[in-house]
Symmetry: C2
Subunit: 288 residues, 2 copies
């Protein structure tokens, strides 16, 4: 069940890809595109991703069945209440943010529309509508946070958001509570991101070694740090209350490993060997 | 200038790939394959990578112009002196180890053969001869540590090892002192590896969140932790004296970032944004 008229706020990588993906399977769906950058609206119109482009102030939100917020995390959070206030009673508001507790709590502060949080587990290190692709969500998993309160309206809203993502190419949708989501994503996404960023920072700060290190950097460095180039994960990580303590624990693990490498390398190598085996045994989505 | 007769000790990913790559460009080169595993020797013979397979005890080392050590780091280090002792005077001994100070120092403990340390900056997370490929080194950089003492024999030895890697597909060879190499590789390879491994450990240890985190793990987790599955980097990292202190500094960076994320998220996001930009600006080898 897809809506008749959908608005997407923020036509970057995720919002732009959602528009392109839905257009592919349902050409007749009316998609209102909203972005702060007029050039982005132009690009999206030219690509046929949206039917019309608007600033948020001038957007026909009250005529839409579903609105999806797809801005960077901070702006997304700030827009939940103003956007909800501009929609018609009983419509569905959703989002794509990688942190769900803060966003879903904000959505629950109003009862004009039904807020259903969503988080598609897909992305690349490239940004903006120019990086958007109709196939970005193909085969991905979408985490979905049903709203509190069990009624027919809530169920219908959840079904609409689920169908939207399945139509956009997702292989599956997992219903999950916001706090459970944020804790899991801490390990699946936010810690990997922070570790990648700090590995880049280490290279930058080692000014004596950096030029040669760059020359010698190969596929291992490239892949480990790819996520550090993603400008969008940080915003979600900053909204995730589980991140600071988990990052401190990761730092402590690393410190202990460093200690072990100098004092008991056999034991360190034993630990690393076991982790290598367990990493090789993990089922992870293939490269596209 | 390639040797007439080459021996490769250890026919795993790197040694096996070197044999296959050289075979491709110089079918007439005689390659003696040496491995502790008879099945590996069989596979390498069957693939035409080597002309004959031997145990190290029975290998005709004294008939070879060049011998390349390609075992796991610890075994490689232990074999430098015994292998050198079995070679003929003035021949060339080289290796592929990712830590060069310890290995080159071991090589300099004898003067029977000329030891030229080398480190091809290539690899995958897969292991063994079955993962070897004639194209593994295509386009890669090889770090090369010329032996101490400047004479004609040393120069000739360096040229032989350089030509070997260029013939195997390397795009370039960088001459570098062992300690300079190890310090640069600390940031280019060993820290990325240790960070990746600890991100895997964090996921494993978060037993409450791990099942859902695995379901939600996407490309970011996959790429950040790929290197953790590489069973060979750890051995080199454990031989690298620069690693423990650098890993402690990385841990401290991560701890400070965690602190900033809870106390001053704006500042944390500012730092992460700058790192994202600098990561996107890095020239790194493309995926194959």
């Amino acid at each position: 069940m897809l809506p008749q008229r959908l608005a997407i706020v923020g036509l970057g990588l995720l919002g732009g890809s959602l528009a392109l993906a839905l257009r592919r399977v349902r050409p007749s769906l009316r998609i209102e595109g909203i972005d702060i950058d007029p050039r982005t609206l132009e690009q999206a119109l030219k690509a046929g991703a949206i039917d019309a482009g608007h600033s948020i102030e001038a957007a026909p939100l009250d005529g839409c069945d579903v609105v999806v917020l797809a801005q960077p995390a901070g702006a997304l959070l700030d827009s939940v209440l103003p956007v909800a206030a501009g929609m018609r009673h009983g419509a569905v508001l959703s989002d794509v943010c990688g942190a769900k507790e803060a966003v879903c709590a904000r959505g629950a502060q109003q009862d004009r529309v039904i807020f259903v949080g969503a988080h598609p587990m897909a992305g690349t290190e490239f940004r903006g509508f120019t990086a958007a692709s109709a196939s970005l969500f193909d085969g991905c998993t979408v985490a979905l946070c049903p709203p509190p309160g069990a009624g027919q309206d809530q169920e219908l809203a959840v079904r609409q958001v689920r169908d939207l993502w399945l139509a956009a190419g997702a292989a599956g949708v997992i219903d999950v509570a916001p706090s459970e989501h944020d804790r899991a994503v801490t390990f699946a996404s936010h810690l990997p991101y922070l570790a990648a960023a700090m590995v880049v920072a280490s290279l930058e700060d080692a000014s004596d070694a950096a030029p040669l290190a760059r020359d010698l950097a190969a596929g291992g460095f490239r892949d480990t740090t790819r996520l550090a180039g993603d400008g969008t994960v940080g915003g979600a990580a900053a909204l995730n209350r589980h991140v600071p303590s988990a990052a401190k624990e990761l730092a402590e693990k690393l410190r202990q490993l460093a200690d072990r490498l100098s004092k008991d390398p056999e034991k360190a190598l034993d630990q690393l060997g076991k982790l290598a085996e367990s990493r090789r045994g993990m089922k992870l989505p293939p490269r596209k």
